[in-house]
Every structure is written in structure tokens, then in C-alpha cells.
């Protein structure tokens, strides 16, 4: 399946670059616009799946660019350093999908992007890598065409790693995503489940243990 394209509209070079690296690692195609006018142009010329909009932009501000995005049917997430209520309300009332207040967590950004894409039915139903095929609708995993039985928590853990591929996720974060915040089991539950996934799906080398951070599913970007 073709990569989903995300337009980053951010006038700060450093932030734009940082977002681009992370989205690329997570398997998205990105382009960057440093001002509102070129962003509006890019939105009308090319088909994007999602736009990340800074609010304070030279040329046109984020809200004006958002109007263009709405016209061409591209969902948008606002990135804003202004966390005043007014701009939040203006953004959400205008139909923006979500907003993030700077400084934000990278993982948080990826989660929001994923959610917005899912809401707009822009996520794949299946994903393939390393002879593995995951069907998100059926909740099944095949290795070399053969169905592999995974426990529900093992499946959720795999999906969390796959959706944030190439990005290390801490054990605590995985715990939160898969078991929820109110789970009081030991942190080693994660290690046990990772071990199971590695064994069942022959992912010993793909799911890397990143020291002092957590686990990372490494997949070469096409």
C-alpha cells in the first residue's frame, strides 16, 4: 500500500525537521511548508492525507490555511504555542480534528496522527512486513501465510509496536497503551509478552531492546 502523505506547515525549521524525521520513521511520507501561502498552494496542488498546521505563520495564519484544507477535504491537526482557550475553540469549532500544544511529546503526536487518520478512514486494513501480515479488522496475524495464534494482549502489544515502528516506546508507555492506566501488574509483564511475540513471529532481531528506553520495532523504510 502507498504511504500516507502528511503536510507539515511550520515556520520553524528545527521543529518542522524534527516532526518530519519522526513521521518518516513511522512510515509516512512528508512534505514541509514554511509559510501559509505555499502551504495553501501545496494543499490544492497535491493530495494529502493530513495536514499539521502551526497557527502563527508568515503569509497566511494557520486558521486561514485550515480553511483551504477543509475545502480540499484534508483533515488537520493544529500545532500551537498559544495555548489560550480562544484559539483552541476557534480551531475545534472550525472543524479541526485535534490540536497539540507546543512543546509536545513525539509519541503523542504520532498517536494523534494515527487517530485522525483512522477517523478519516485513511489507515490500511492490513500491514505487511518481514513475511508477517497483520489484518487489523480480523485481528489476525499470519507468518509466511500461516495463521499464528496470539493472545489478545500479545496482539495489542504487537500493534502498538507496529503502529509506531522505528520509534522506541518505553515499557511504561506500552503498559499504558495495552493494559491501561489502572493495571497494577509488574512492568516485567511487558518483557514476558515481548518474548512471546519474538518467539511466535520470529522477530528476535526486528523487535530491538533499546537500553534505558524500551522496545523498538525496526523496519526498513521502503
Amino acid at each position: 500500500m502507498e504511504k500516507r502523505k502528511i503536510l507539515i506547515v511550520e515556520d520553524d525549521e528545527a521543529i518542522a525537521g524534527m516532526i518530519a524525521i519522526n513521521l518518516k520513521a513511522a512510515g509516512y511520507a512528508t512534505s514541509i511548508c514554511y509559510d501559509g501561502v505555499t502551504a495553501a498552494q501545496a494543499l490544492t496542488e497535491e493530495k494529502y492525507d493530513l495536514a499539521l498546521l502551526d497557527i502563527m505563520l508568515p503569509g497566511m495564519d494557520g486558521f486561514e490555511v485550515f480553511e483551504v484544507a477543509k475545502k480540499v477535504g484534508v483533515p488537520a491537526i493544529f500545532l500551537t504555542a498559544k495555548d489560550d482557550i480562544d484559539s483552541k475553540v476557534a480551531g475545534l469549532r472550525g472543524g479541526a480534528e485535534d490540536y497539540l500544544v507546543k512543546p509536545f511529546e513525539v509519541l503523542e503526536l504520532l498517536v494523534r496522527v494515527e487517530k485522525v487518520l483512522a477517523r478519516n478512514k485513511k489507515v490500511e486494513k492490513t500491514i505487511c512486513f518481514n513475511n508477517i501480515e497483520i489484518d487489523f479488522e480480523e485481528r489476525t496475524v499470519k507468518l509466511k501465510g500461516e495463521l499464528i495464534h496470539l493472545k489478545p494482549k500479545e496482539y495489542d502489544l504487537l500493534v502498538a509496536l507496529v503502529k509506531n515502528k522505528n520509534i522506541a516506546i518505553s515499557r511504561e508507555k506500552l503498559m499504558n497503551i495495552v493494559w491501561g492506566y489502572d493495571y497494577y501488574g509488574g512492568i516485567h509483564t511487558v518483557d514476558v509478552h515481548i518474548g512471546q511475540i519474538r518467539k511466535k513471529l520470529e522477530l528476535k532481531d526486528t523487535i530491538k531492546t533499546v537500553s534505558r528506553v524500551g522496545y523498538r520495532l525496526e523496519v526498513e523504510s521502503e
Partner: protein, 463 residues
């Protein structure tokens, strides 16, 4: 409201007292006068009765027939309320009263009276009350032609007249008081209306409507109060507006500062997370580190400028010395040399032996800021001029220039004309604020003269 009631009450009390006192005076005077008059008229009447009987008796009467004569005479004359008594026998000769001879003699004994010189005074009289009706009565009596003649006068009407007078005076008094109440009330209401307006306006102003004014056209103290009130409201409005403007500026400053802090923080935070979590290529890692370094420097620059600005705003007076402008220019150009080289800018300096009085470090800082702005605005290989003319320091570039609206806003903290470009060039957005504060310390000013596409000229006037 309360005052209105109080004044009305005082008025009512005063009028009430006045009316009561005048009523009492009038009634007592009238009563006294009436009593005297009635007495006199009774005496006169009785004098007539007695006199006419006396003359008739003298003309026709005889001593031995006096009883019959008297009886006949009074019957004929139909003199009402007359009683004749024979003093020797104490018998009634003629009685047309409700009293008996004994009662009459007890009240008014003629024989004990002495004759006086006054024709009326020879008549004695008394006051008595009958047993069956409480009536005021005057009895006059006299010895005429050998018999005692008494006449009884019913004078109750005098008392009744006084009573009626009192009643009508009370009614009139009440009507007067009522009229006074209505009058005082309406007058007070009218007089207090402007005060009420004043109080309403004060309430509105207190509630936040600072443009509220009163329209009191009275030419009295209240009108004066209204005028003073408006003067006060003007002052309050002006001051509030000033405070709000300062508040707004502060908010804008804080908002901008937050933005300026968050942008580099977002990048640093993001890159740090990325480097920990994402497997990066060597080039990507290098780029991330470069950005972390660059953004940290930006933060440090920002904090430096903030500190300088705050120091200037709070600090006391500065040490002023004679400084050669030439050395300020040289130091400034030296400080910007790497920036000048990177854009290959040509600096044209033209300055003689002019000097100014001020703090050298601060003035150099100001010129560095203005020079950096000029270089920033210039294209590569551009030209920036620094010169002194007629007590004016001029910094001129041939760069992008600005529109007029931009010129007005440019010295506000964190204002950027072209945010992406100027941030790429490394400005903190506080340069002109700093320059303005420095010049303020020196009692100097600067002017911006700019044309879009032609260039900008900054002129500092010094003494």
C-alpha cells in the same frame, strides 16, 4: 431617599408646630374677646331692660302696687328670661326663667351690691349652670323701683362658636399641612432628581462602564457637583484606559515571550526524544544535534536580551561620559563582523571627531542591534551605511524596507515583519525594544524612515 424623607419630616414638623401655635393664639384671643363682648352686650341689654322699666315705673307706678305693676309690665313687654323678686317677702313677682327666686338670689345677690359710677357697673351679674343642661349662663340683676329684677342670658353659643372655630381651624391646618407635604415632596423630588442621576451614573461607572457621564443642567450646587463628577469620571476613564493599555501590552509581551520560549523548547524537546527513540542515520543525528545546539543558543540569546531589557527598565541612572562616535561604530562593526562576512555586506562608515555623552557599552549595544537589523534586512552583497550628520546618527540599508503600518508596530517586543526569515537569521525579536530603552536612558530618540523595496533608515538624534 432618606434625606428626602428627613427634609419632608422636618418641614412637616415645623409647619405643624407653627400651625398649632397660631391656632392656639388665635383661638385664645378670640375666646377672650368674645367673652368680653358677650359680657358687655348682656350688660347693655339688661341695662336697657332695667332702665326702661325704671322710667315706666317712675312715670306710672305706685309704691303699693309695685308687684302688680311689675308683673303687668313684664308680661306686656314679653321680656324673656326675666325674673322679678320682692326683696321684702322674697317672693317671685314675675318669673320667665327656669330658676327659682332662691337660686337666683344665691347666685346673684342684688342687695349686697354697691352702686358704682359706671352705668353698667351698677348691675351685678353671675355665671351659673343649670342642673339639666350644661349651658353657659349670665345672670344680671338690679333693684329697680323697690323690686329686684334679674335677667338670665344663655351664652352657651359663645363656647360653641369657639368650638366651631377650633374645629374649622384644625381642618384648615390639616389641609395646609397636607398641601405642604405634597409641595415639599414634589419640590424635593425635583431637586433630588439630579442627585439620583448622579448616583445611578456612579453605580454604572463602578460597574465598569467608564464612559458613563451625567447631564445635570442645574445652575446650583448640584449642577456643580455634576460637573465635578464628570471631570472625575474623565480622569478615571483616562486612567483606566491607560491601565488597560499597559495590561494589554504586558499580556502581548507575555504571550509573545511564551511563544518565543516554546518554539525552541519544542524543537529541543522533540529532538531529544527523537534521538532516544528513533534509530537515526548519522546525518540525521548530526542534524538533530545541530538544531538542539542552535535552539539552545537562541534561548540563551533570548534570556540575555530579556535580562538586559529588565536591567535597563529597573536600573537607576547610568554613568555618562564623552564617547567618540567613531569608536562606537568600530566596536559595533567588529561585533557584527562574522555576520557581515557571512552575507558579504559592504559597510560604508563616514564619521569625524564627533562625540556624544553617554554610556559606551550601552550605546554600542544599541548600534549593534540596529546594525544587525540592517544586515538582516539586506540581501547578500548588500550595502549598509553608518554616518553622522548634524547631531544625528544614521544607519541606512538598501534592504527589504517596510510598509508604514509595520513601522508603527516594529518596536513592540517580539514583533517580526517576516517571522520565518528573521528567525532563521537569529533575531530574538527584542532588538528595537532594547534600543528604545537604551536611548530612553540617554534622553534620546530614534526615528524609522522606511520604504518597501527601497530600504530603511534609522536616525538617532543626540545632544
Amino acid at each position: 431617599m432618606k434625606l428626602k424623607f428627613k427634609i419632608t419630616l422636618i418641614c412637616i414638623l415645623a409647619i405643624f408646630t407653627a400651625v398649632i401655635i397660631s391656632d392656639v393664639i388665635i383661638v385664645s384671643y378670640y375666646a377672650k374677646k368674645n367673652n368680653e363682648e358677650v359680657m358687655v352686650s348682656c350688660k347693655e341689654q339688661f341695662f336697657d331692660t332695667a332702665k326702661s322699666y325704671e322710667s315706666e315705673f317712675n312715670r306710672l307706678g305706685r309704691e303699693d302696687y309695685r308687684d302688680i305693676f311689675a308683673d303687668t309690665y313684664f308680661k306686656k313687654m314679653q321680656n324673656e328670661y326675666v325674673i322679678c323678686i320682692n326683696p321684702e317677702t322674697d317672693k317671685e313677682i314675675y318669673n320667665h326663667t327656669v330658676f327659682s327666686a332662691k337660686e337666683i338670689e344665691r347666685i346673684c345677690d342684688v342687695e349686697s351690691l354697691q352702686e358704682g359710677s359706671d352705668p353698667y357697673d351698677v348691675i351685678s351679674y353671675g355665671v351659673a349652670k343649670t342642673q339639666w343642661k350644661s349651658r353657659e349662663i349670665i345672670i344680671c340683676g338690679r333693684s329697680v323701683g323697690g323690686i329686684n329684677v334679674y335677667q338670665v342670658f344663655d351664652v352657651t353659643y359663645v363656647k360653641e362658636e369657639i368650638k366651631n372655630l377650633l374645629l374649622s381651624m384644625v381642618i384648615v391646618s390639616f389641609v395646609v399641612i397636607l398641601i405642604v407635604i405634597v409641595l415639599v415632596w414634589t419640590l424635593l423630588k425635583k431637586a433630588f432628581l439630579p442627585l439620583q442621576k448622579l448616583s445611578e451614573s456612579a453605580k454604572k461607572i463602578a460597574g465598569g462602564n467608564y464612559s458613563e457621564r451625567v447631564s445635570v443642567s442645574n445652575k446650583d450646587e448640584i449642577g456643580e457637583l455634576g460637573e465635578q463628577f464628570n471631570v472625575m469620571a474623565d480622569a478615571v476613564e483616562e486612567r483606566i484606559a491607560k491601565l488597560l493599555e499597559e495590561e494589554r501590552k504586558k499580556n502581548v509581551f507575555m504571550g509573545n515571550l511564551t511563544h518565543e520560549l516554546r518554539t525552541p523548547l519544542t524543537a529541543i524537546y522533540g529532538y531529544a526524544q527523537t534521538m532516544r527513540a528513533v534509530k537515526l542515520t548519522k546525518e540525521e543525528k548530526e542534524m538533530a544535534l545541530k538544531y538542539v545546539e542552535k535552539e539552545s543558543l537562541r534561548l540563551s540569546r533570548l534570556s540575555d536580551k530579556m535580562l538586559q531589557l529588565m536591567g535597563l527598565k529597573e536600573g537607576g541612572s547610568i554613568e555618562k561620559r564623552q564617547i567618540k562616535i567613531k569608536s562606537i561604530f568600530k566596536d559595533s562593526v567588529n561585533a557584527c563582523s562574522s555576520y557581515i562576512q557571512s552575507k558579504n555586506i559592504i559597510i560604508e562608515m563616514s564619521v569625524g571627531d564627533e562625540y556624544l555623552i553617554g554610556d559606551k557599552d550601552l550605546m554600542t549595544e544599541a548600534i549593534i542591534n540596529l546594525l544587525s537589523n540592517a544586515i538582516r534586512a539586506s540581501a547578500e552583497n548588500g550595502r549598509v551605511k553608518l554616518y553622522v550628520v548634524d547631531k544625528e546618527i544614521v544607519i541606512e540599508d538598501e534592504g527589504a524596507g517596510m510598509e508604514k503600518e509595520e513601522v508603527d508596530k516594529i518596536s513592540e517586543p517580539f514583533y517580526r515583519i517576516d517571522k520565518s526569515r528573521s528567525r532563521k537569521e537569529g533575531g530574538a525579536g527584542l532588538g528595537l525594544s532594547l534600543v528604545r530603552e537604551i536611548l530612553l536612558k540617554h534622553n534620546m530618540e530614534f526615528k524609522i524612515d522606511s520604504k518597501l523595496g527601497v530600504g530603511t533608515r534609522i536616525i538617532i538624534t543626540y545632544e
